[in-house]
Amino acid sequence: MAEAATIAQTRAAPARRHAGETAVAWLLAAPATLAYVAMILVPSLALVVLAFTDYELGAPGFRWVGLGNFTELMADRGFLRSVANTALYVLFVAPVSVALGLAIALLIEGGRRGRALFRALFFLPVVSLTVAMATAWSYILHPTIGPLNALLRAVGIDGANWLGDSGTVLLSLGLIGIWENAGFNLVLFLAGLTAIPRDLYAAAEMDGVKSAWDRFVTVTWPMLGPTTLFVVIITTVRAIRVFDTVATLTQGGPNKASEVILFTMYTEGFSFFRMGYSAAITLLFLVAVTVLMLVQNRLIDRRVHYG
């Protein structure tokens, strides 16, 4: 209030008023700026510095190793495997959970009964704690006593060792990832759908759009553009960041078959205590994610119609 009064009084002197406004703006932005600098900018810079050292947790000092960590990474079987696994995981989880989220959202939106129930059911995985769910998944996917394989046996199929076999472990983790992400995307799409004005559908019908598919292609899909852009980016980020299911269910095993980038980063830094090496992985990860987001944003943004 006091500031508003001051601003009102100084209306006659534009230069001073401008200076005062700038000061107030800085004052108001200060807490967030300070937090950003202290919590994100400084640690990130420290990370960049660490990436060029051989610092180990608890070690009295460190040596500069230049690009040593990066050259070691390029020859590290575990790291290369974890990059490949993460890429596979993202290529599987992101598109499927976006498509599934959209499909379920359309079904719920188009349905007449039990909307709230279905919304809640599909959203449950998002609010449940992954670490707690891991025990349940580990039991469901158990090769001998698990309900899934019991079900398969009942119809005469020999179930796989879902989490123990290097051939199926990434697939299993991917399916769990989709289970987690689809519900989240569903809610975003539902919000996007309710924002589409009803009269657009009426107008489309006047113009001769009759089938549900045509309505989707001509109205729903273009109008969902901004939502879809957001969902695609956020899902990609969430998929790249996969960590909890790996840490609780497989720890990258068997023999690195489910090793993913964030888990490698964690084990190198906090299990093996090689902070410098871990920082190098983080730096590469940050650069890769930023580039990916920029490219995605540019590519998709061009085609998005902002109503």
């Binding site: 051989d54 608890g58 580990s138 158990h142 123990g164 290097s166 095993g253 068997p254």
Partner: protein, 434 residues
């Protein structure tokens, strides 16, 4: 946890009164009025024991007060905490760490070399520290700590499943040949039942149980080259291979945190499990009354040369001030004394770490009579040697390399010969070059 609470209280009371061994505390006068800060991990297992020990220690003298910082959930978290605090200068005075991680702290100059303090005490055997027990905390030329709670691998079995295939639960296999044959028989019952699971995932501990069983060792005595790639290592891997091939051992999710083997066992679908005795309490709770749970010693590989690795926790002194170091030493000495170790055993089921408490049935005789599942591990005490801690900055990483290689055998993707060669190549890259 409840079953021995009354015993431990009685034990704690008894302590205040008697036991001459640690009553002589020459350091106390010099270390008067110290508030000792102590850290430990895995409160789920150690909270009751630690609190009983601190209460007994605080009750018997007034010069040193022991208090605990928030315990960390796992050994790994505990190691991280101390390493971080070493960097910021906020170390506690005493920390209880996984036995295989003591070396890491000694190499970084965080754990005090206890040889000086031990020397002042005279003959360590008088305090109940036999040479093998001291060896558990001795790494790379430094007495990095003292063993506080130890464990070794034992056999768990479902007596009901053994009876179903006509095997006598009183005569559990003494050799791996018999154990593997029995496993195949139990697996033959079908209905999702498996014969055995040897807990190879997680770390190198259970692999070293096989390697030591043949009398092998991880590195050469000068620690400059791998030594597991000889006939003992190959025999160990071949045995694991036979468990899978002949014993029809399932590959139950290859991770340290996986509980699939425990789930199957508790559900009565697994005949035998080979893993640490530290799990006795948790396993007997999860089994409940589903079936008759029994434990016994591990099948013997080489009756003469064979040994078993020791898991568990050790106490190390992280205080820098000489006065605090002496006070810390008094507490560490008490925690590992016959009385301290008895309190630890009664509250956890781990193996005692003081020779006096092991030899003299006055301390723990009643406890073992009432808790027979804990007895198996104590019978193997003479076989226990240190869980090998690799030197250098890749100390922990090496163990992961080994587990990854073992997974290839569990999945039947490579022969023991190929795995041994690859394991040797990869580990060689990770140990310090002379």
């Amino acid at each position: 946890m409840t079953l021995d609470l009354s015993i431990s209280r009685r034990g704690a009371l008894g302590l205040a009164g008697g036991a001459a061994a640690t009553l002589a505390m020459p350091g106390i006068v010099r270390a008067a009025g110290v508030d000792l800060v102590v850290h430990y991990s895995m409160p789920a297992i150690f909270k009751d024991a630690q609190e009983a020990i601190a209460a007994a220690f605080n009750a018997r003298q007034s010069a040193i007060r022991v208090s605990y910082v928030n315990p960390t959930p796992t050994y790994e978290d505990g190691a991280q905490l101390i390493l971080r605090q070493a960097a910021t200068g906020q170390l506690p005075d005493v920390s209880f760490q996984g036995l295989n991680r003591l070396r890491l702290f000694a190499e970084r100059g965080i754990a005090l070399d206890l040889r000086g303090l031990l020397k002042d005490e005279g003959d360590p055997a008088r305090l109940g520290y036999s040479a093998p027990l001291l060896g558990l905390g001795f790494h790379g030329g430094s007495q990095a700590g003292l063993a506080f709670a130890t464990s070794n691998p034992i056999s768990y079995y479902n007596a009901d499943l053994l009876k179903r295939v006509g095997a006598d639960p009183e005569a559990f296999p003494k050799t791996w040949d018999d154990a593997i044959a029995l496993s195949a028989k139990i697996a033959g019952l079908g209905d999702g039942i498996n014969g055995m699971f040897f807990r190879w995932p997680g770390d190198d501990w259970m692999f070293s149980a096989l390697l030591y069983g043949y009398g092998g060792r991880m590195l050469t005595t000068d620690e400059k080259a791998v030594a597991f790639n000889g006939p003992e290592g190959l025999a160990a891997l071949k045995l694991l291979d036979r468990m899978v091939k002949e014993g029809r051992m399932p590959n139950l999710a290859a991770s340290a945190s996986s509980t699939q083997d425990l789930q199957a066992f508790a559900a009565g679908k697994l005949g035998m499990m080979f893993r640490t005795t530290a799990q006795v309490r948790a396993i007997s709770q999860s089994v409940g009354a589903n079936f008759t749970l029994r434990t016994t010693v591990m099948p013997v590989i080489d009756p003469v040369k064979g040994r078993l690795p020791t898991g568990g926790a050790g106490a190390m002194i992280t205080a820098k001030d000489p006065n605090r170091q002496r006070a810390a030493w008094e507490f560490v000495k008490f925690a590992t004394s016959a009385e301290g170790t008895s309190l630890m055993v009664k509250n956890t089921g781990y193996v005692p770490t003081n020779q006096i408490a092991i030899d003299n049935p006055e301390y723990l005789g009643d406890f073992y009579k009432q808790n027979p599942l804990f007895v198996a591990a104590t019978k193997q005490v003479p076989l226990m040697i240190p869980w090998y801690a690799f030197p250098g900055q890749n100390s922990v990483r090496v163990t992961q390399v080994m587990v990854d290689q073992l997974a290839r055998i569990a999945e039947q993707k490579a022969t023991p010969e190929a795995v041994l060669a690859d394991m040797a190549t990869e580990v060689t890259k990770l140990i310090p070059t002379p």
